[in-house]
């Protein structure tokens, strides 16, 4: 996703002289081509995210389209007040980009796991929150956000995420992508869990369970219509995210269903906040550990279906 983002950004910068890039001293081996091609629109602010965000706001208020860039929690939580008071309050045209959302930097430990960013960014005013599902969506999201005049948070994976869309899907901020249709259950994923959602859907299909898969690339504003359709047309809504169970996709979906007075069963798969802290290892290892692998998440869905949906008393 990192490479898809940088490629899109270079193209945008080529055609739009207002595109400006500020890094918090990260992006080794990735940002150099941009810096070489557009030296007057590249700034390394150093390891100083609060100042980076303040400077980005100033640049945006003088007419530029500014992308700030760092990894994991650094561009969001370290400078939360600057995002809140500088960027969001002023509706400044700043796009906050984080590489390595979720557990992508798993081996670097909890300091480098981004597990609360979606929840916290989702509460901020005027901020669009986007977590693309694969490199194709990352490319489309980058272009859509550049065209949007206002603050946004773009949570990306790292490198090597599988491509889930053979053809570029229709992409609109705030509108979920129906990646696979199905009438029995719906799996809604955000960010790089899309591949797992599709794999689970394929597994369920072999057992005669037809799963719909939605890529909820935009968490705010969220696509309430797609969620309500899923809850009324299929018998279970599953949310799948590499994020805390508090405040992320699962919470957002539950909010929509509650506001619509819908009581359909919902299974939220993510990371319980108190279990997030101490494990260190590869992204693959950590996903398995938290029950988010294809096999573990699939088993939890089957179990939930057996216990709570198929055997549930009629209401």
């Amino acid at each position: 996703m990192r490479n898809a983002f940088m490629r899109a950004l270079e193209e945008l910068a080529e055609n739009n002289r207002s595109v400006f890039f500020v890094t918090g001293d990260l992006g080794f081996g990735v940002v150099e081509p941009f810096a070489a091609r557009f030296p007057d629109r590249f700034l390394n602010a150093g390891v100083a995210e609060q100042n980076m965000t303040g400077v980005a706001t100033g640049l945006a208020l003088s007419g530029l389209t500014v992308f700030t860039y760092s990894i994991a929690n650094f561009p969001t939580l370290r400078c939360l007040e600057q995002i809140r008071n500088d960027v969001c309050y002023h509706r400044a045209n700043v796009k906050i980009v984080s590489i390595g959302g979720g557990l992508a930097y798993g081996a670097l430990g909890y300091s480098h796991h981004a597990l609360e960013d979606l929840a916290i960014m989702r509460t901020l005013p005027n901020l669009i929150v986007v977590a693309p599902g694969d490199p194709v969506e990352a490319d489309l999201a980058t272009r859509a956000l550049a065209a949007h005049d206002g603050p946004a948070y773009l949570r990306l994976g790292k490198a090597g995420e599988p491509i889930c869309h053979e053809l570029a899907p229709p992409f609109e901020l705030g509108r979920a992508i129906l990646v696979k249709d199905g009438g029995d259950v719906t799996v809604i994923s955000t960010g790089a869990m899309l591949r797992t959602a599709l794999d689970i859907s394929a597994d369920l299909n072999t057992e005669g369970i037809n799963a719909r898969v939605l890529s909820m690339h935009t968490l705010k504003p969220i696509d309430a219509e797609a969620i309500i359709s899923a809850a009324t047309e299929t018998s279970l809504v599953v949310t799948l995210e590499e994020h805390s169970l508090t405040g992320g996709l699962g919470s957002a979906v539950a909010e929509v269903l509650t506001d619509a007075c819908l009581r359909g069963p919902i299974l939220r798969l993510g990371i319980p906040p108190d279990e997030a802290t101490y494990d260190v290892g590869s992204q693959h290892f950590l996903r398995s550990r938290h029950g988010l692998s294809r096999a573990a998440a699939g088993a939890r869905i089957r179990q939930f279906l057996a216990d709570r949906v198929l055997r549930a008393p009629a209401t």
Binding site: L26, F28, N44, G46, V47
Partner: protein
């Protein structure tokens, strides 16, 4: 960090030691070419710290320096320990890429053979 530096000297915390592993590299480029820190010792002095610049690779000098703290009663001490990232293997010294890379078993063997202690 500068907030902590202010608070410590304000309260005269003279049993506090800051050791700066000053290797002059950031994660994309040198410190000098990114956000300059020099004169680093003077900055700490201006914040009210007792400062000494030492060779971060010289164990004898480090031991001697750490044994003589506080250097000034009522002041925290800052050691600016000058270091070289990748010290001892010229092919790795001062190269940003080795912030990210881990040497393979072969590279470790090779480095030991070429640059390790003799005999």
């Amino acid at each position: 960090m500068w907030e902590a530096a202010l608070l410590a000297s304000h309260h005269g915390v003279d049993n506090l030691i800051a050791i700066i592993d000053y290797n002059k590299l950031q994660s994309l480029d040198t410190v000098e070419r990114t956000v300059r820190l020099e004169p680093l010792g003077d900055k700490w002095r201006a914040f009210g710290w007792e400062v000494r610049e030492i060779d971060g690779h010289d164990h004898d000098e480090l031991l001697k320096a750490f044994s003589a703290v506080p250097r000034l009663s009522g002041r925290p001490t800052c050691f600016v320990a000058h270091t070289v990232k990748g010290k001892g293997v010229p092919e790795m010294e001062n190269r940003v890429e080795w912030h990210y890379r881990s040497p393979s078993a072969d590279q470790i063997d090779w480095a030991k053979k070429n640059w390790g202690p003799r005999g």
